[in-house]
Amino acid sequence: MSILDSKIPEGPLAEKWNKHKSNIKVVSPANKRKLEVIVVGTGLGGASAAASLAELGYKVKAFCYQDSPRRAHSIAAQGGINAAKNYQNDNDSVFRLFYDTIKGGDYRAREANVYRLAEVSPNIIDQCVAQGVPFGREYGGLLDNRSFGGVLVSRTFYARGQTGQQLLLGAYQALNRQISKGNVEMYSRHEMLDVVKIDGKARGIIARDLVSGEIKRFGAHAVVVATGGYGNVFFLSTNAMGSNGSAAWQCYKKGAMMSNPCFVQIHPTCIPVHGDQQSKLTLMSESLRNDGRVWVPKKNEDAEKLRKGEIGPNDIPEDDRDFYLERRYPSYGNLVPRDVASRAAKERCDAGFGVNAEGKAVYLDFKYAIERLGKDVIKARYGNLFQMYEKITDVDPYKEPMMIYPAIHYSMGGTWVDYNLMTTVPGLYSIGEANFSDHGANRLGASALMQGLADGYFVLPYTIGDYLADEILTPKADTNALEFEEAEKAVTGRIEKLFNIKGSKPVDYFHKKLGHVMWDYVGMSRNAEGLKKAIEMIKEIREEFWKDVKIPGELNNLNPELEKAGRVADFLDIGELMAHDALDRNESCGGHFREESVTEDGEAKRDDEQFTYVSCWEFNGEGKEPVLHKEDLVFENVKLTQRSYK
């Protein structure tokens, strides 16, 4: 199908971006003042884009559901941000960062986009330092670097275990500066509920003021969606409670295609679920696997005693411990990539070796590192993470191993975009985690922050000009136009419909039920039978939801249950699309593991012949099967190989 034009520039990989920049149109300063851009979401992508566009002279309106742009979930990223600075003189380069990202993504990302990401990465670090981001430094005053999983060089910049926080505060400060200058109108506690198209182009949004309940219309010449991922479809994830897929889903319903929705990252080191009262999962940074050893007991009877609390981990002798990552993957050991580590933990727990009451946890043990390096060194490296762990679990990880288990963390899939980051709807852009473009089937650690800021600071501000240059004669969007009226009516209608169901069960009941189906059948291990079952089960939950959900409170007041209901209604649809996508992709790649596609020794097996494409799903009407289009991935600069970590 030719409706997907990725607009990848011709020419050698290393020259594509520069060449493209010189070919695309530029808008004059006088005209920029007349052009309005809406940016939805204020995480790293949204905040950096809104600030940069406003600096250029565009009139920007920015939106977030939180009470402040600073609270977007980028704030929670811990470990660091990658950049090809080669400050360590360890032979890092733009090409090496590009190659690691393509390989880490299991060859399911676009070469040209990934190369550009690596190319602009050094500028990000320069920009952040200029803004006052207090990165970790050497005693000589220069920037320090860390190593991260899946790579052989040190290219990760960090600000303690709070890198996301510091980068977001940098972008937020830039945003605040533009707000104070009147170049950005900031709408906090506002949630986008629809995108409005006029003459086929994105011309505005419908948003709900979460405090007053008022439904409002906002017009612009272009709309940028930077609303993150949809991991909360699983109910339990490391995402914030409010993180949702609704803005992206409304774009999908208005014609923006969704790509690779089945690619979600499951992070191996999270604090395990306890009982049935849990609301969210907390990540323990990947960096811990540098010094922690992962194990479970060798004997089933020991695991059983651990689960009953009859013995503790320190009662199990050395010889009875199964360091299964070191056993299965001797060359990478505890530092295998996230997808591999997650599957291995699940395999042990499914075989009956899980160590907590629920049987769904493995140990991450620092005893050996403490013996080797001393407690002080471990404390200096991981003190804040150990404190966080102890506050949550009441267990001192200096004395007893941490218990960890995989959890849903990041969405590699997302809205389809071309090289300019524009979706299949003209004038509608998608940046950061919300789009699909850079991480393939598995994202490397410390690359999400890099992508969000690359898109917002250095890609979108250029590429959006190419579109807006043709819009300089287009008048301001008329929010009284029929299209706005109809969109508002549809939004109001849906809210009233939800509110008037007045059933018997709270929103969480349905969300948890969906989460269980997703985790069991569309989670770490998938097969055709289970996926078909999941699609049927989700349909049943959806039917029950629209008959029996109970939303208390008022429409015209702060109403968190109403907000949740709208998001869960969309999660039900997103979950179903994920299952369709996972069913279509009968290969194992990255975070997507199909039981039908494994090697003889049980490892993931890619099928390049059949599946070297980006799946692109087109909305085909309510209650109808979506239509699959394919963008073939062409690799001109790397050779596709089966990943091995043995």
Binding site: G132, P134, A174, R177, M241, Q277, M388, K550
Partner: protein, 253 residues
């Protein structure tokens, strides 16, 4: 260590339908809460019970639930973020409470943070203070190489200590004068400690303090309550630094 069950708790909580409503305390009972659950998970359960009983659930702010976004607030048993140290409310766990206990929950109380509903307050005043000057005036692009200006390890660490502020407002809620000095000083110190931020340090301090005063925050009388309740252990030595920047700024006017 091992989780226990709190059979019954009394939750005495502030209810206020909107900014105009007078507000009042109401008490609910809740049963069978695991000591391994977080405080906000306990509120989730209480809310789902209320919904099933046909009552309006309690509105409270929360988002990341891992102590970093700064959204959650709550004054619990007379303390900002409750009876634990160096945690936000979302990191507080039920093992800190006893079976049968009455737990009192209030919103942040400060003139500059009006109540929106129940336990949710409006912290826009913090936004306005930061918009008044809490940044370094650089545009995207055209900046020098990140290693062009060396910064000592110590300065970077001190800057980071101050930059750890999550903007939750506990300092204001804990202060008998509802002063925002710890919040303002954290941003001023974060930027002033770095050569990039030093250029505008004085005007930044002056503008942010002026905005803080304008928005109805009280004055600082050095009681130190803010530092005690700060979930990120932001030190009041930052306030001394702010005063220094502010005074030299005024002096040089």
């Amino acid at each position: 260590m091992a989780d226990k069950i709190l059979k019954k708790l009394n939750i005495k909580v502030w209810r206020q339908n909107n900014a105009q409503d007078k507000g009042r305390f109401e008490t609910y009972t809740i049963e069978n809460i695991s000591t391994g659950s977080s405080f906000l998970e306990m509120l989730d359960i209480l809310n789902n019970n209320l919904i099933e009983e046909g009552k309006d659930p309690i509105a409270f702010d929360h988002d990341c639930r891992e102590g970093i976004c700064g959204t959650c607030s709550l004054f619990i048993n007379g303390r900002a973020h409750g009876p634990d140290t160096e945690v936000t409310t979302c990191q507080l766990h039920m093992r800190k409470f006893k079976d049968g206990e009455t737990i009192t929950i209030e919103p942040w109380r400060a003139a500059a943070f009006p109540v929106i509903k129940d336990l949710v307050v409006d912290r826009t005043a913090f936004e306005k203070i930061l918009q008044a000057g809490g940044y370094i005036s650089v545009n995207t692009g055209g900046v020098p190489d990140a290693n062009a200006i060396p910064i000592s390890h110590e300065d970077a660490e001190e800057s980071m200590d101050a930059a750890s502020c999550i903007g939750c407002g506990a300092c204001v809620a804990a202060c008998k004068n509802s002063s925002a000095m710890l919040f303002v000083s954290a941003k001023v110190a974060h930027l002033a400690k770095l050569p990039q931020g030093k250029v505008e340090a004085k005007s930044r301090a002056r503008k942010m303090v002026a905005k803080m005063d304008e928005l109805g925050f009280g004055g600082c009388t050095n009681t130190g309550a803010c530092e005690v309740e700060c979930p990120k252990s932001i030190s009041i030595t930052n306030i001394a630094r702010l005063n220094r920047e502010y005074l030299t700024a005024r002096f040089s006017e």
